[in-house]
Structure formats: structure tokens, C-alpha cells
Symmetry: C2
Subunit: 350 residues, 2 copies
């Protein structure tokens, strides 16, 4: 297979971890005779520094015209603590999601056997947990109108959803549930929010076409609790943008490290793959960041193009790295291995 | 002391658990020579059933003219799964919070020594954790304009905040931090939301008057993770309404059961005390609901009026109940004790 892949390393540890993902893909390409052509471009704080724009035109065009996007991480503390910054790195990522129409963010949550004890949760709570979060990614408060009055004393964010936006991701989530344990949990705050009530109504309606899938509903406050109390109850979780952001980071604790979780963002035409962790600026350039999430996002990319055998080889390589304790310090406090060594181990294994 | 207390049992298990809280207060009154006069009123689904209004005028007037409100629980599944319901139980509680000006909801999180093993989290993670969440309670998406178009295909919720709303709760939170370990963590989503950027700016400004308190900021997705990974890092958490709703339910897992957590909602003039759990309709009338959160909300009421010794007696009684395993099934699967027995134990101890 020939794939043209846009690579956006982004900020902080992004460039370091994405390098390891590329190495894994190169190795796959060699062994299985695929040609992956990478083209790098700027996004995020680094793009602001170099061009003034968090998503330069050139980057967007590249992403629109490649088969897939591999993305590292975004964010820089110099913007986070400046409420008056006019341009922000995150705007680049949000605009890219919107322009590529990446409405569904899919985050699988499943602990590694050999890492079960790395989780803050007890073994009996997480052993056997295996669920996937479908997070709507191009709507909600992320994209609604924002206001700040002139005096800077009053602000607002609008959360909006349409039936159409809910329907398309609901179908994806129900289909995924059909291929899994046939249970879908819709998470919302329908006792308070109008948008949540619309979600509930539309998802109920879409669910009628999937009579083999059991549908239930949880309020988001309760869901945040249930994910920790009894994660095994979940199969597919479907939720809106901001709730999905919160719950999927929370759910990462089940696997012991957020450095292990990748996500796929899918639209009608485009697809983007990224770790769910952030730019972790304190670790930048220190060769201590965990590259596994980024490597796994490359595996999700392969799956997306039907290369299941190849993706599996990556999953196996990652499992071996974990089993042999070739992991970064987030997983083993006294580890001698860094970002690069873990990446080497994985690509050598392929 | 003479106190006139409005009692709103509400829905589901509300009436059962609030009865135990009243019993504890009666016992305190007898032993320490206080007069607590209770007056009951309707709120929630039960008020809709009887009057068509989730917060009847009479209830509101009573609450406005008493020293404090003791509230049980709210919510009924017959409304939750009906996106078209015109009146909802929760509207009663939200209106009451607004009308009484209860802008600060305060939720202490601290595991009981004898219950540490009831938590899904490992002992070493939670032992020593002790923090308080300050949740803004009368602003944000809970109270902003809501729309649903005529076709029922498009909905919106507006999240709004003003400097004034943020300032008043920030002062309370900083003051609390001054009396604790002098650390305040503001939780927001300032990389995306305009309201969060306003929060960050205003809290920074208020913080200048509390130079002895260390202030830091966390994005809500990260906070949802950190509360589980390392709850000991927190002292006081300050956040807006919806984030506080999610994070405080999530944080309840640290104590092993949401049935153990109470909260105080404070305004300039009024105060309301309630368990943080919901109406748990499946348990209604079965004598299995945990009354401890409701009993502890009575203790918070006593503290609010400066009756620290009396509040402490309740805390001790609850600790004894837990130590002697006089607890409901949420804390001990094979327990023979019910709501009523736990309440009896506590009030007999006083
Ligand atoms: C960086 C930020 C804008 C982003 C989000 O909130 O969507 C991140 O947290 C994520 O989950 O991908
Ligand atoms: C019942 C509901 C409206 C309420 C809320 O969301 O505030 C509850 O979850 C709470 O936390 O007190």
C-alpha cells in the first residue's frame, strides 16, 4: 500500500514521540512492503512562533490532501497562563479538526496485563475492563460563539448541537457496539442541559436501528464516578465534546499511564491519529516522554487502512516492551530507558 | 441556640435519609440544650406530583425565612428519560439555589481510616488525602439561556460568568486555603473556553490578596486524571458549576462511597446542607440507603452556626458506626443493617 501521511509534531514532547511512531511505520513499511511517504508541517505554538498562525494555510492544505494525519501534541504554558493571548496553539488543532470534519474521536481503554499494578486502581477493579469512548469532536462549547465584553468582566461560551451532528457519530458508536459486547452508554447531563436532552432524544431514535445493542444513559457526574468504581460495566461510551475530553483523560488511569493511550479522529474523508496526552512541556527534550501512545496512534492509522496484521505487530511489539520493562519512567520509576530506547525496541521488534 | 430549619426531603431515598439526619439533630438538641424547629416542605418530583411545581411558592418562602435548609435528594427516572418533559424536578433545586443566592458549594473529601479498603483506589494513593472542592453553584451553563428550535433539531446552552460571580467564591476558597495547607488549585479549560480564561484572570487577581496561598491551575481533563492518580496533591480546588459537579462526584470514590459525602451550599444570607448523592430511586423505601451523607450534612449545618463541639460529636458517632461496621450494604456487602439502624446507632451515640 502507498500512503501519504502528513506529520504534525507540534509542541513540547510532540516531536520526540512522533519520531518513534515514524520509526515504527518505516519498519512496518520495509517488512510488509508498503510505502509510507511522510511530509512534515507546522502546527501549534511552534507554528505561532514561526508564522504567527497556529495552523498555517500550508499545513491545512497538506492535511486536506494526504491520506492521513499523524499528530504529536499541542500546547505551551506561555499561552495557558496568559488570559489575554490573542492567538493560542490549541486554536490550530481545533481548526484542523473542524476543517477536516473529524467529528468522531475514538479512544480505546484497556489495561495491559503486565501493567495492571501500575494503575492507582485495584487489580480486581480494572482486570477485564475494555471499553471505547466515542467523543464528538467538532461541536459543543469548543466551537460555539464566545464573548468577552470590552471591560473584560463578563464572558460566555455557547454550547450548540444539531440532530445531524449527533446522528452521524451515534451511528458510528452503535456500529462499534455491534462488533463488541453490544452495549452503548450515552453520557450527558439531560437533567440540566438542553443540548443533552437533544442528544438523548436523537440517540434513542438512532438506537431503534440497532435493536441488538442495549442502550442506557448516565449523567456525566455519575459516569465520572462509575468509570472508577466499576469500569467493567462499560462497552461503548458515547458523549459530547467536552464531557468526552474529561472522561477519556480520567479513564486513562485505568491503564496506569496516559502515556499509553492513542486516539483516532475520523471524518467522512479524513483521519487523524494522535496520543491523548498533552505536550508535557516539562519533559521536552529530556528523552523521558513515553512514546507508546504515539506509536499506538500509528497502529490505529494502519488499522484504519485495513492493515490489521501490521497493526497487530505493533501492538505485540508494545506489549513486549512493557513485558520486558523497556519503558519510560512514568511506568517504572527507576527505568534506565528513555523515549528513544523504547522506540528503538519497538521498531527493532517489527 | 434556637434554629428554625426548613426540611426538604425531596425524592427517592431523600425522605428516609433526612429522617436520620433529623434524629441526630434532635439528639444533639436534647444533650446540648438547643432548640431545633423543623418545618417540612415539598420540592422536586414529589412537589410536581402534588402541586405541578417543583419548587412551590410556599417552599421557597419557608426557605427564605428560616435559618437553614436541610435537603434530601432530587430526581425521578420518569423525567430523566423523557426529553420532552416541560417541568423537571431538578428545576426546583436549581431555582432554590438561585433564589437563596447559594453561590458556593463546599464538598470536603477525606477517606475514613476504617474504610480505606472500601475504595476502588489503592490504599497508598488515598491514605492522607484531604481536600475540599469549592464549586460555583449559581452560574455557568446551569443557568444560562437555553434554546431548542421548533423542529426540535437544534439545541443550545449558554455558559456565562461575570467577574463578580467569580470574585466572591474565590475569596471564600482562598480563605479556606489559608486555614488549611495554603494551596489553591483552580480547575478550568482556559485553553478552549472564554469563561475559563475569565476565571483564570479573576482568580489570579483575587489571589494577590492572599500571598500566603500558593495558586496553581489545571485543565479540567488533567484534573479529572490527577484526582485519581494523586489526590494528596490537592488542598482546595476551586472551579465552576459543571466542572465542580463532575469532579466532586468523581472524587467521592476516594472515600469508598458517595453515600458518605455531604455538602454545604452558602450564600450571603442563606445556607443549605445536602448529601452529594442523588435520589437513588431503585433503593427507595427499602431501608438500604446509606444515611451517613445526610447525617453529615446536619453536622455541617451545626458547624455553620459555630456549634463545632456538637458537630464533632456527630463526626465521632459516624466514625464509630463505620468502625463497628454498623453500615449499609454499599459499605459492607453482607451487612444486616439498614438506613434506620445506622441512624439509630448514630443518634443513640450522641
Ligand atoms: C489540547 C486540547 C484543546 C484538546 C481538547 O481539549 O480537545 C486535548 O485536551 C484533547 O483532548 O485532545
Ligand atoms: C440534581 C442535579 C441538578 C445536581 C447538579 O447537577 O447540580 C446534582 O448532581 C448535584 O451535584 O447537586
Amino acid at each position: 500500500m502507498n500512503l501519504k501521511i502528513a506529520v504534525l509534531p507540534g509542541d513540547g514532547i510532540g516531536p520526540e514521540v512522533i519520531l518513534q511512531a515514524k520509526k515504527a511505520l518505516y519498519a512496518i513499511g520495509e517488512v510488509y512492503n508498503h510505502e509510507f511517504v511522510f511530509e512534515e508541517a507546522l502546527m501549534g505554538a511552534i507554528a505561532i512562533d514561526k508564522t504567527g498562525n497556529p495552523l498555517p494555510e500550508q499545513t491545512l492544505n497538506l492535511c486536506l490532501n494526504t491520506d492521513a494525519v499523524l499528530f504529536g501534541a499541542i500546547g505551551d504554558p506561555k499561552y495557558d497562563n496568559n488570559p489575554n493571548a490573542k492567538v493560542r496553539p490549541e486554536q490550530g488543532l481545533l481548526k484542523l479538526r473542524k476543517e477536516l470534519g473529524l467529528f468522531a474521536n475514538i479512544r480505546p481503554i484497556k489495561p495491559y496485563k503486565s501493567l495492571i499494578d501500575a494503575s492507582p486502581l485495584k487489580r480486581e477493579i480494572i482486570e477485564g475492563a475494555d471499553f471505547t469512548i466515542f467523543r464528538e469532536l467538532t461541536g459543543g462549547a469548543y466551537f460555539g460563539a464566545k464573548t468577552l465584553n470590552e471591560e473584560g468582566t463578563h464572558a460566555s461560551d455557547l454550547c450548540e448541537y444539531s440532530e445531524e451532528e449527533i446522528t452521524r457519530i451515534a451511528h458510528l458508536a452503535f456500529k462499534s457496539a455491534q462488533n463488541r459486547r453490544k452495549k452503548l452508554t450515552m453520557v450527558d447531563k439531560a437533567n440540566v442541559l438542553e443540548t443533552s436532552r437533544l442528544w438523548r432524544k436523537v440517540v434513542q431514535k438512532v438506537g431503534e436501528s440497532y435493536p441488538d445493542v442495549a442502550l442506557d444513559f448516565l449523567f456525566v457526574d455519575n459516569a465520572a464516578m462509575q468509570i472508577i468504581l466499576n469500569p467493567k460495566q462499560f462497552d461503548v461510551i458515547l458523549t459530547e465534546n467536552l464531557f468526552g475530553d474529561i472522561l477519556s483523560d480520567e479513564a486513562s488511569v485505568i491503564t496506569g499511564s496516559i502515556g499509553l493511550l492513542a486516539s483516532a479522529s475520523l471524518g467522512e474523508k479524513n483521519a487523524l491519529f494522535e496520543p491523548i496526552h498533552g505536550s508535557y512541556p516539562q519533559a521536552k527534550g529530556k528523552n523521558i516522554a513515553n512514546p507508546i501512545a504515539s506509536i499506538l496512534s500509528a497502529a490505529m492509522l494502519l488499522e484504519h487502512f485495513g492493515l490489521f496484521k501490521e497493526a497487530n505487530v505493533i501492538y505485540q511489539a508494545v506489549e513486549k516492551a512493557i513485558e520486558f520493562k523497556v519503558v519510560t519512567v512514568d511506568l517504572k520509576a527507576d527505568s534506565k530507558f528513555g523515549t528513544n530506547e523504547v522506540g528503538e525496541f519497538v521498531s527493532n521488534f517489527i
